[in-house]
Amino acid sequence: MEWRPAASLAALRARAELYALIRRFFVAAGALEVETPIASHAGLTDPALESWRTAWTGPTGVQPLWLHTSPEFPMKRLLAAGSGPIFQICKVFRDGERGRRHHPEFTLLEWYRPGWDGERLIAEVANLVRLALGQPERPVEILSYRQLFRDRLAIDPLHATLAELAACARDQGIAGGEHLSLDRDGWLDLLLTHRLETGLGRGRLTFIRDYPPSQAALARLRPGPEPVAERFELYLEGVELANGFAELTDAAEQRQRFEQDQACRRELGLPVPPLDEAFLAALSAGMPEAAGVALGLDRLLMAITGTSHIDQVLAFPIERA
């Protein structure tokens, strides 16, 4: 049994310094540090994320609990309760995710800005990341999801048919693409991860914004002739680093999206976690318009320390946990 840490002492120190820098940043920015539960009665319904389950033995017997995949729902309850700007550094859990850039237990920095829009939050994310990298002059690029696919793959991600997306994957020479059975978003994810991602954020910070409505997650939709989700992602040196939203605050629409997720999970034969009724109640009571973002601190640390495997910034990866 290997007892020694996987990360170097320098990487452990870099983590401590990064957390201190983040806390200084948010104290100066007037945001409140908060802590919310890791285990919840409700789970995340997003079909792309698997929650870990545990159980609580209490006065009413054994109750199933779900480990959070992000602290989003309780943080939004705090916003609805009038917290003002808040941030949190916490461990989150996503079952089945393991690789060079994935670890099933990892650290998120998540923060919310009531009254802000996506654009203003993008600027703040850029400032924080440039500060953390010690590169205050690092350029920032902002592209729409549609522009990215049009410019680099000559395909319109909002309107291409399933057959056109599959043909694009074939033309791009993605090995095994002809054997894959995917939905529209699956094909878009394939093209993004296999042909676009590695080029993003090279020598700069690249923000992708305005996602297809089918990939809105918890972002609000911007209506118009071409509705898009007010969602953004940050890429740094080919690595996805952060995901943000101009938050959906409409309780009815949120419930509808959750129910769609659940139906999708049932169809796929996946576990169907219960909806977070407390979160939906908070939205009904009135959550202020806000922008929020989650940033993967392990990946940011990989960039800061110049490492290529997530294990190099973790004291004890899951195999030796």
Partner: protein, 190 residues
């Protein structure tokens, strides 16, 4: 029939794909935070040796290939067929030229080889890393040249041709590294 889920993918795992056995060289988990997960793998076709890349949707399952390595003794060759024996069970197997491949240049009767079996039949044969073989033909070198510089071709008893130093003569035994096909040293009878 054994199967492997993409979660179980790791280097060295043997899988079936399009009717051929493959070994996984490298497995990369690729997933957008809010999207579809994929396993992007580099795999080697165990029949042809060709390395290819392939992407699978995470969660898919693939049939396991019935492939394993075993130590066998090379017995003899009768034209197109090489005969091997399991030293424990005395069970004999035959391998064709495609399976034996380059190993044919290096192995002598009674040598132990690593034989990779696929569905119980030899798929490939690895000679020992080092073999000792007799030189059957080479130009007479210059006496007194011990520098090893330059060198000359020498034909070995198995038919292989290797470059040897000028001082090495016909009928001498030499040690050869079969992975590089290079002369290592002179050798004595084992």
């Amino acid at each position: 029939m054994a199967t492997y889920n993409t979660n179980e993918f790791r280097g060295g795992l043997k899988i079936m794909l399009d009717g051929d056995p493959y070994t996984i060289i490298e497995n990369e988990f690729v997933k957008p935070g809010k999207g579809q997960a994929f396993n992007r793998v580099r795999i080697r076709n165990l029949k042809t040796g060709r390395v290819v890349e392939r992407t699978f949707k995470s969660g898919e399952s693939l049939e396991a290939a019935d492939v394993h390595d075993t130590q066998m003794q090379y017995l003899y060759n009768d034209g197109d067929t090489w005969h091997f024996m399991d030293p424990a069970s005395y069970e004999q197997l035959t391998a064709d030229a495609a399976a034996v491949g380059d190993a044919a240049k290096w192995i002598r009767e009674e040598d132990m080889c690593q034989v990779t079996l696929y569905n119980g039949a030899p798929l490939s044969v690895e000679p020992p890393n080092f073999v000792i073989l007799r030189i059957v033909e080479t130009d007479p070198g210059l006496k007194g040249d011990t520098s090893g510089g330059g060198g000359k071709p020498a034909t070995l008893e198995t038919g292989a041709v290797v470059r040897v130093p000028l001082f090495v003569q016909i009928d001498e035994l030499i040690k050869v590294d079969t992975r590089s096909g290079e002369y290592v040293s002179r050798a004595k009878e084992e």
